[in-house]
Structure formats: C-alpha cells, structure tokens
C-alpha cells in the first residue's frame, strides 16, 4: 500500500561529543523513520520543533504517529503540530526561508510568531493531545501553504479527533477565537450601508464621494465570553460575548463624536459579527468538529455518567446556539 509521505522536521545533532555538531533539517518519509540512522551524524530528537503532516495523512488520522512521540520523554511537549495544504515535500523544499538557518527553524519561527500575534491558536503537542483526549473538544492545527517558494500560514485546520475535516481562513479564524474564549488582539472588517449613517456624515463629504456602503475595521481590545447551557433536550447553548474594541479604519467620514452615529456603527457591527460567528459555527457543526469546546461545557453539566465522544458526535451537529454580542467601541482615533 502506498503510504502518503510524512515529514518530520528534525534537528539533527552530531554523534556523542566527537567531531562536528551540526544542525541540519532533515526530512524523511514515515516508513524511514527508523532508518534515519543512515546519516553520518548521530540523530537526537530532543530538539524536534515542528511536526508537519501532509494533507492525506492528516485526513486519515495522526494520533498513532503523535502517540509514539508523546511516549518518548526526550521529545518536547512544546513541539508544534502542523498540517500542510500541499504535499509536505513542497513545503520543505521551499527555498525562501528568510534569515533562518534552515527550513525547520523557519517553520518554527513562522508558527511561533503567528501564535504570539494571535493570528493562530497555539497547537503544541501537549495542547493537541489535550484537546484530542478531551471529550467535547477537537484540536485545531495551523495549515501551511507554499506561495512563491515561501511558506506561509494561511488557514487553520479543524480536526475531528485526529482527522482533518475542514479549514478556516485566517479571517474566519477571528470568529473561531471569538467563540473560543478570551484572547487579546485581532481585527474584523464590517461592511455598513452608508444610508444608515447619512445624517452623521461629515459636511464636506460630496456626492461624488458617496458610496453605497463603507467598511469599518474594528480592532478588538478585550472580550469576555459567557457560555451557558440553556437546555439539554433540545441541546441549546447561549453564548454572550462582551467585546470592547476600537475603530482603526473607516473609509467614510462619519462623525463618531455623535453618540447616535456610534450607536449605529456598533449595532451594525454586532449584527455583522453575529452573522459571521453563526456562519462559522454552522460550518464547524457540518464538519462535526467541535473546535470551540461546547462539549466540554456540556460535560460539566452531565452528572449521572461521563459523556462519551460518540454521544457528543451525535449531539453536536444539531446543537443550537444563541449568540448575543455586545460591542462597545471605546476609542475611534483622533481624526474623525
């Protein structure tokens, strides 16, 4: 049977103390994992930083492969688990890796930066396995993509247990994180019909400048999520989100100093966020991948017996969720 290619990005270090100590990124096929001893250097795996799965193997399930790593005490729990959208060969042969010493270090840096900037949700080996073992929560992974000979993170993959079942773009990822709980930064674009704020437009807006709708970019400052189980049968959750944000971009001159104008913007944004969030949630439910951890919440209310994964898989797609978003725009820049 043809095994799909499977790559491990591995830091390879010299034999015991002798001779050179050199760091090389090696890639090898899964079947060859045990044959890596062909190298002239002794391989130690303590510095393994990223594990990258090709799309085919990700669709089949990656737990058996991670399990062996987890059992090895020398492997760090901070290892990044990632999936590539193309063949992982392409990812590793991308030759533009900025100033990093090798592609392995570059991938680690890429994912780390994205996690620190909160464009991604961290998916280390520990976190992946924690979510995998959790009843009522599925892991997420960063998806890598090669564009113009350079690797980028361009979406996050939603898993069902250990199988990749779908993905969300980074824009959509904002809503995934919104539904997931607290985070510290992120921005969303909201389109608003100009008619609604017609009377608050700045005076010098001429008719030529008038457009049907305009775009507001809001930058999230703070959020608070409150998730409550309303009823078990039918399964219904209520999610209340308090978001405080600031406007960082707006391509129409609306006088936000007028409270009414701000109110309209807020209402429209709330509506938009809510729509988007519901859309994302629906998609995830169709994939039957509970990346938000609703099941975890549900299981804390099940007293008589422990919830099983199978039970939750059946309940999840039909779950109903009410989303209420309270947006509070706190700041809107100096020039309006």
């Amino acid at each position: 049977m043809m095994q799909p290619p499977f790559y491990i990005n591995l830091i390879q270090i010299s034999p015991m103390p002798r001779r050179l100590l050199k760091v090389v990124a090696v890639r090898f096929k899964w079947q060859n994992l045990r044959q890596i001893k062909k190298s002239g250097y002794k391989i130690v795996n303590g510095q393994l930083q990223t594990i990258l799965f090709g799309p085919e193997i990700a669709a089949e399930g990656i737990f058996p492969l991670l399990d062996t790593l987890e059992r090895d005490a020398s492997i760090s729990d901070m290892l990044h688990v990632a999936v590539s959208r193309q063949k992982s060969d392409d990812i590793l042969s991308a030759s533009n890796y900025e100033q990093a010493p090798n592609i392995g270090t570059y991938l680690d840096r890429l994912i780390n930066t994205a996690v620190v900037n909160e464009r991604l949700i961290s998916s280390t080996l520990h976190e992946f396995l924690r979510d995998y073992f959790e009843v009522g929560k599925d892991p997420m992974v960063p998806m890598l993509y090669v564009d113009d000979n350079k690797v980028e993170v361009n979406s996050i993959g939603a898993m069902q247990d250990d199988r990749l079942v779908g993905e969300f773009t980074l824009e959509e990822a904002f809503y995934v994180r919104l539904l997931n709980g607290t985070f510290h930064s992120g921005s969303a674009e909201v389109e608003i019909k100009t008619d609604l704020v017609k009377e608050y437009l700045s005076e010098f807006v001429t008719d030529e400048m008038y457009e049907e709708s305009f775009i507001v970019v809001i930058d999230k400052l703070n959020n608070k999520m409150n998730r409550t189980l309303i009823s078990k049968d039918p399964l219904k959750f209520h999610v209340e989100l308090d978001v405080s944000a600031r406007v960082i971009e707006m391509n129409q001159r609306v006088d936000l100093d007028i409270p009414e104008a701000l109110k309209i913007i807020e209402e429209q944004s709330e509506l938009h966020l809510k729509e988007e969030a519901e859309k994302i949630l629906k998609e995830a439910q169709e994939m039957n991948s509970d990346i938000f951890g609703f099941g975890q919440e549900y299981s804390t209310h099940v007293r008589d017996k422990r919830l099983t994964k199978e039970e939750w898989r059946e309940l999840y797609p039909d779950m109903e969720v009410d989303i209420t978003i309270n947006l509070d725009i706190e700041r809107f820049g100096i020039i309006h």
Binding site: G46, Q47, A73, S74, S76, D77, M78, T124, H126, E127, L129, R130, D131, F133, E134, V135, K137, G293, Q296, E297, S299, T300, H301, V302, R303
Partner: protein, 367 residues
C-alpha cells in the same frame, strides 16, 4: 529499652526544623505520581480526597505525639516494649525497621526510574543508586545534625521548582474541575486512602522525638509540616487536573514531571531535564532520613553499631537496585509499599492509642 533515652544536648535539634524535615520527607517521589493516583479514583473531585487525607494525617500525627508524650522521653522502640513487652517489642521493632528499609528501597528505585526515563535511558541502575547511596552514606555517617542540615538546605535549594508550575497554570482549562462533587463517597475515600500513603514520611516522628530540644513545640511544627504538604499536594493536583484532560492525566505516570516539559527559559529550552536532575535534591533528604531511621532503630533493636548497620543495609539496597530492572516490578513494588505503608503509617498509631490511654489512666490512678 524502657529506660528513658539520654541524648546529649549537642546532638539535639530544634523543633522548628521538623517543619521542613517532615515536609520534605512527605514530598518526594510520591508527589510526582500523586495526581494520577488520586485522579484514577476520584476524578475531578481529587482535591476533596486530598483534603480528607489531610485531615486523617493531621489526626494520625496528633495521635503519634500523644502516644510519645505518654511515655518518658522514648521513641518507637521504647513505646513498643512498653505496650507489647520486651521480646514482642523487639520483633515489632525489627519489622518496622524492615518496613523503613522497603520504603528506602522504593524511593531509590523510583528515582532511578526517573533518570532512566527522562535523561539517561542507558545508564545502569546500580550506578545511579551508587551515586545516591554514596551521598546518603556521607550525610548519615556524619550524624543526625548533618542529616537534618542536609534536609533543610536541600529544601531551600529546591522549593522554587514548584513555582515553575506558573506556566502550566496559565494553560489551565477551568471546565476540567466541573461538575464538582461528582465522585461517589467510596471513590473519594479510596482516593484519600491512596493519598495518605503517597504522603507518608511522618513516621520519622517516632524516632526523632527524643532528639528534639523543645519537645513542647513538636505538635505545632509537625502539624504545620503536614499542612504545608497538603497545600503543596493540593497545588500540584489542582494544576494537573486543569492542565491535562482526563484521559491524558490517567496516562501520565508522573504528571508533575511532565508539566515541567512545557517550561522553556530563554537560555534553557528544556527545563524538564534539569528538573529531573534537581529532583535528586528533593529525594535525597528522604533517603537520608530513612537511612538514619534504619541505622538508628537497628542500634536500638539489635544493638549494632550505627555505622555497621548503615554500611550493611546500604550495600543490600545497592545490590537489590541493580537486580530490579523492569518498570512493572518497580510499579508493583511501589504499590505494595503503599499498601503496607497504610498499615504502618496510619493504622498502627490508631492501634497503639488504646495502650497509651490505658497507661496514662493507670498512672493517674497510682498518683
């Protein structure tokens, strides 16, 4: 053996040291696996089991001190001969000494296991034991003062490791703690039973009692030590429950050490390796105090010189540790020690309590 012990003043130690000695005795190898053991029984309500176990240990410590105060300045062996006569007392004393030896062995084997799993898979067991045993010998050979000093200094050298759990704390999932009070009373009791034997070590009181300078304060400090241990245990258990998901926690043999795996300092990317090596300093006080207890009770029971029995039993421990190799054996042995430890540590004081009450009652009647 009934004659009160005369300990020279310069061999005595201050009662306040008990606070740290008993705490370090209780926290050693046991705490690394504690979260898993309790969790297997009581799930997210583990902390209730732990609190319950805490109460039990507090009571047991109080009983031990009560019993020791009943008889004039004596130790376990004296108490035994008061209660069961000289011959039976000696036999029981020997059994106790053997039990201490088994505990010593289980600590040693477990640490060897840590090192082999986390750092040097191929380092021979006998060699790691030899390193530890040579240090134990050096410390105990210099007397109780040095043994106690080692406990104190090593406590200060390692207590900060617990603070490093700050990183796992930031990754806690609060859903893991709910629903509260889910476990059945039997599960909680079972969890408490397992906890008590992971937190043994207060048996030291039985032997160190005559060496304490200000004996009135023993109760205060011994109970304080138990309270610190319980708080520490709670801390570790609560963090592990929040950090691991349920099934994951049950798979981890030493959740505490695994939690160090995500620590990474700017110049030190993998802290777990250092933590395991440093753990040597955490368990050395245990080994040293147990070695002292063994050699001292050998002297009391059989009249051997302390230095002879010390050398003899350390050699035996070294030989045994080089024979036992397999993980399952170590596990089974540890569980076995736990089971009998429950008897020696918890049940025995309860058993001896009526004798002490009777003795006091008799004494009152005579006067």
């Amino acid at each position: 053996m009934k004659t009160p012990l005369q300990i020279p003043i310069d061999k005595k130690i201050k009662a306040v040291y008990l606070l740290l000695i008993i705490h370090t005795m209780q926290v050693g190898v046991g705490i690394a696996g504690l979260p898993r053991f309790i969790f297997a029984e009581a799930k997210q309500d583990s902390w209730i089991s732990l609190l319950l176990a805490g109460i039990i240990i507090h009571i047991v410590v109080a009983i031990i001190i009560f019993v020791l105060r009943t008889y004039p300045n004596t130790d376990l062996l004296g108490v035994l001969s008061y209660c069961f006569g000289n011959i039976f007392g000696k036999i029981l004393g020997m059994i106790f000494t053997f039990y201490f030896f088994l505990v010593f062995l289980s600590i040693l084997l477990n640490y060897v296991e840590f090192v082999q799993v986390f750092i040097f898979p191929r380092m021979p067991s006998w060699f790691i034991s030899l390193l530890l045993i040579s240090l134990v010998f050096y410390a105990v050979y210099s007397g109780l003062r040095v043994a106690v000093g080692t406990c104190i200094v090593f406590y200060f050298a390692t207590f900060w490791i617990a603070l490093l759990l700050i990183e796992p704390i930031t990754m806690i999932e609060f859903d893991h703690y709910f629903p509260i009070f889910h476990a059945s009373p039997t599960e909680i009791l079972e969890g408490a039973r397992i906890t008590t034997y992971s937190l043994l070590g207060f048996e030291l009181l039985w032997l160190i009692y005559p060496f304490i300078q200000d004996q009135r304060k023993i109760g205060r400090y011994a109970q304080g030590a138990v309270a610190i241990t319980i708080l520490y245990g709670l801390y570790v258990v609560i963090v592990s429950i929040g950090y691991f998901s349920a099934d994951q926690l049950e798979e981890k043999i030493w959740p505490l050490l695994t939690m160090f795996k995500i620590l990474s300092l700017p110049m030190f990317e993998r802290f777990d390796i250092l933590a395991v090596a440093l753990w040597m300093m955490v368990i050395l006080p245990n080994l040293i105090m147990f070695a002292w207890m063994i050699s001292y009770s050998c002297k009391r029971v059989c009249g051997f010189k302390q230095k002879h029995s010390l050398v003899a039993f350390l050699l035996v421990a070294l030989i045994i540790s080089s024979i036992v190799q397999k993980r399952e054996n170590v596990n089974a042995f540890t569980t076995f020690i736990g089971e009998i430890g429950f008897g020696f540590g918890i049940l025995f004081p309860l058993l001896i309590l009526p004798f002490a009450i009777f003795h006091r009652w008799k004494g009152k009647k005579q006067s």
